[in-house]
Amino acid sequence: MTTIISTGGVHKVTDRPDGTDLWLTPQKFEAVTGFALKPEGFCRDAVCIPIPPGRERHVHHGRKVNIAAFAELTHRPWVGTESGDCWVLEEPADARDAALRSLEAPDFALPDLDGRTHHLSDYRGSKVLLASWASW
């Protein structure tokens, strides 16, 4: 069993990695990444990221998609354990940087002490002081 943690959550797949390469069915790939493999490339909503000519074999073959190649092509950090049984797929730095510079406050969902989930967007209409702290 291989664990993949993405912004969408924690996914378990039975596929085993080969080095950093991890080949998934298109369905699982889409569940983990939010992207579908189409003739135009990797597509999410109306946006497609083309696959550079000559790289196709590293990205998909035998009806499977290599999530490591996707990560590399789209500048997403892809970090795993030495045994390859647990991986994290992160959003690209330039997308996060652009999002912050747009000054749209990124939404998030977190629990309070009672386990009740709060979204930042629940507080639209009020000024918000979003402050970090910690016990450590």
Partner: protein, 224 residues
Amino acid sequence: MWQALYEELKSKKFVVIAVALESRGADAARPWIEQAKPTYPCLIDVDHVVAREYNMINVPQAVWIDEQGHIVRPTETAGVTEGFRKMNPTTYEMPKEEMQAGAAARRRYLDAIRDWVARGTASKFALDGAEARKRTPRFTADIARAHATFRLGRYLVEHGRRDEGLQILEQAVALNPDAWSIWRQMADLDTVGKAGGPEFWARVGALGEKHYYAPVDMPEGQAQ
């Protein structure tokens, strides 16, 4: 830290959202929250999601967000100074002038919030778009990789693979050595208390001229 301010301003469509960056979970934060009895939301963030989304590297840092969900002050030090660095290491006493400077910085920060809540975009503390963008800390590839690595290490620690997880958290520290939230969280997961122990003080000492808390760039004098 924010309770009195929140009570004072809550009728003016103002809320504090306090986010505890606590990979040990709610029980680690609970005693502090129960003691402070806050009436504003206190959220528990085991994965440091808010640090990632807002490019935070320490606590306390804060972001000002207006009624439409726009950032009017990006991530910055939230009303504290680094006077603790001048603390006498044996008596734990702080020089009086550092105490005063700390109190003044806090007062200035709280007054700035009051001014913003009263005056909105007309407040000189609510930055225009160009200035807010300029002050937004750059989110680099190493920072992104550090967050991914942090998340992996934390997950392993939670799932019974403590030594391996801590080793991976060390890699996250190496990727973003400026992020005190990563180093101190790692130390806290290793041994409770270590985040403020001798290794912490050694790391603070090694900063030399560099800041632990970058000073807030805020106009001097009383808010109008």
